[in-house]
């Protein structure tokens, strides 16, 4: 029993459940799901759909963080992939054809994959601190996206492109399937191969791993490349949602949300042990929170204030000092209880 309580996913799950409960109590409609034309609608479904870009970015971030790194460029990379894809669709004669769509998406994610690999090169080969290495693209990336779109917000109409974020498949939003596929793929690759444990090993002690024959460099490099790739797909989803490439707004603050999701999921920013399941829970927690804030009628612009509170609460809960204090308090309370029982 105590083992269950000590499991590191307990707190993240508890937080998510609590949030859902609060929502359900304050507005019973929160959990209600309506079926219209064989498609499901409701707040929960919205959360599943809207969380897709964050989910993709956070999965990549988890792996990068496991290698002791961080990727600040993901938001900028989202802007880049959206800009590339929409510029291609905008320039093609047949925006609805699957071929155009395929080329646009492939081009968008290829570019961010290359940028991700570039981040990885800076970190793993040149040995530059991850915060700085990715700061370069965080700064320059949006500039590049603006150059691609020529400084404008490129808008397009393409029914299949729109489908990716707004369409339904078998009753559920298509974007949700994208999330699921990404989660399953990342989890399989990490846990059904040796990649997961080798990544953790590199994150905990890079030099020892190198001496043990682990391809540290390749693993770190790969992590940033994957993060870039996933950010690219996230950018596609984002641009498909608004059907526009907005180089300034796309992925704004998403790197911070993603880092928060990873930390919420119990993965330490110091690298090493990581949890895909934790990150998934973290993403849903953040998305639910955002939905709650909107429901409360708070202007979206003020929502960062709530995010700040979440960050503070999360880090306080994880802080050793607060935990020690709490366990002391608990010990006093329970010893008092025991004393009462004895009486």
């Amino acid at each position: 029993m105590t083992k269950i309580f000590k499991h590191r996913l307990v707190l993240p799950i508890a937080a998510l459940v609590a949030l859902i409960l609060v929502n359900t109590i304050s507005r019973p409609s929160f959990v209600s799901i309506t079926v219209r034309d064989g498609q499901l609608y409701g707040s929960v479904i919205d959360i599943l759909r809207n969380s897709a870009p964050l989910m993709l970015v956070a999965l990549g971030m988890t792996i990068v963080i496991a290698t002791r790194g961080i990727d600040l460029s993901v938001g900028a990379l989202m802007a880049v992939s959206g800009a590339v894809a929409l510029t291609i669709i905008d320039g093609s004669g047949s925006p609805d054809s699957p071929a155009t769509l395929g080329i646009a998406i492939a081009a968008g994610v290829t570019v961010t994959l290359i940028f991700g690999a570039w981040n990885g090169f800076l970190v793993s080969v040149l040995g530059i601190q991850p915060i700085i290495a990715t700061l370069v693209l965080m700064l320059a990336g949006r500039g590049i996206a603006l150059l691609i779109t020529g400084g404008f917000i490129t808008t397009v109409t393409s029914t299949p492109y729109k489908f990716m974020s707004q369409g339904y498949l078998l009753g559920l939003p298509f974007a949700f399937y994208v999330s699921v596929v990404a989660i399953v793929l990342v989890a399989l690759i990490q846990r059904r191969t040796a990649l997961g444990v080798l990544t953790e090993s590199v994150g905990i002690n890079p030099e020892a791993s190198r001496l043990a024959g682990v391809r540290s460099r390749g693993i770190v490099w790969g992590a940033y490349a994957v993060s870039g790739l996933l950010a690219g797909f996230a950018g596609i989803l984002y641009s498909s949602n608004i059907m526009a490439a907005d180089a300034n707004a796309a992925g704004q603050y998403i790197e911070l949300d993603a880092i928060l999701a990873v930390v919420l999921g119990g993965t330490s920013l110091m690298g090493g042990k990581f949890s895909i399941a934790g990150t998934v829970i973290g993403v849903f927690t953040i998305q639910t929170l955002k939905s709650t804030i909107t429901f409360l009628g708070v202007p979206p612009a003020v929502s960062p204030l709530f995010m700040a509170m979440v960050v503070v609460i999360v880090v306080l809960v994880q802080s050793q000092r607060v935990r020690n204090g709490a366990s002391k308090l608990w010990a006093t309370v329970s010893s008092r209880k025991e004393a009462e029982v004895a009486r």
Partner: protein
Amino acid sequence: MGDPTTTPALDVPVLQVSGATVRFGRETALDSVDFRMFAGEVHSLMGENGAGKSTLIKALTGALPLDAGEIRLDGQPVRIPSPLEAQRHGIRTVYQEIDLLPNLSVAENIALGREPRRYGGIDWPAMRRLASEVLAELGLTIDPASQLGTHSLAVQQLVAIARAISTDVRVLVLDEPTSSLDADEVAELFRVIRELKDRGVAVLFISHFLDQVYEICDRITVLRGGVLVGEYRTTELLRIDLVQKMLGREITEQRVRRPSDPEPGTRVVLGARQLRRWPRVHDADIEVREAEVVGLAGLLGSGRTELARTLAGVDQPDGGVIVLDGTPTTIAGPRRGIGLGVVYSSENRRTEGIIAELTVRENIVLALQAQRGILRLMPRARQTELAASWIEALGIRPESPETIAGTLSGGNQQKVLLARLLALAPRALLLDEPTRGIDVGAKVEVQNLVGELAANGMSVVFISAELEEVLRVSTRIVVLRDGLVVATLPADELSSGSLLAMVTQPDDGD
């Protein structure tokens, strides 16, 4: 208490601890220990790892609270709740890992915290003068304005001591101060210690090197398993008795079962010709044959570590050839080395060896898994089986493969590292100080293991700072000095005295 020495009854110890007890959870690390130091003496605290040495030092220097017991300074009871409080009482510590600030100047490292001021700001010229004076006392003529990080470890160590003695020091704790010093520097340090002693400072000198302890210390306190064994005058305690008291058992046969010397002409497995690696390896020739232990003997900085690393392909040579099975081979990195059956175990267990947060199983399997590649994950059952078999073979405690490796004692971590490398079934094993910082029992086990491995045909390169140990374990010895191979001799032809002479003294004046 064993057989305490008679001390002048009138003399009040400058520092006295009585009934010192420290518990970590259920474990008692220090059990009602009495300890005292007099002004103007050099005292050594001896004991195996886990004897409670470091716990006692930490309690004395305020790094750890006492659960029971009393500390008296000049007979007055005091509380030492923090290192700062200890410093205020004149108790200064110089730790093995130098805890100075490499990014600041030497002068600041000496004076920071009580720097001279003028017009409300720091008076830099005065601070440099102050530093120069203290450094001169230590015979050190370095530029006080230079950045500390630009100096060698030995100089940094002396700067740490300079910081300690520049204050009103009563008790100076030197924790393994000589581990990064060469012979000259040790002599210089001892000169300083004697001067401090004449000034009436009580010096607590902690070292693994028995020679040094016997050279400098007046008195020795021995701990074992957290309990006081006794306090002795150095002159009245034979070395063999000291080691016995530390181990608490008769040392029967410490000699390692050495494999019979290889027949002349036995195959050379790993070798190098004219191997160069700037700045510490100069044109080294070395051969390691099948079924032998080649000891690399040399002082710190002699290039012993660098030679082993270059030979194993961990660092790349600047010149020369590595020969594997008679074929010139390029070993591009440790991964390639492991593939070729040449494996290296680093002297820095914590930073370059163990993956502290992973389990013992994951640590043991790591290198093998890395060699199999990312895609071929070793089945979990197979991993557990492999780990369990090595845990048993090497006697790793605790026995569970799922223990987090970082929680193991030093000796057991070392065994886990050996298991990681042995699981690769290597042909050549290069061990850099595998016995450093582990308790004597584990040490003997590792030494015996090395002997057995060689007897079974493995080629082993063995590095240790202790010449005695190199002699005991090796079949042949390569003597290194200042990055040069000065001799290669069968171990039988050497005594520890002659080996010491070879590693320290220059030959006929070249």
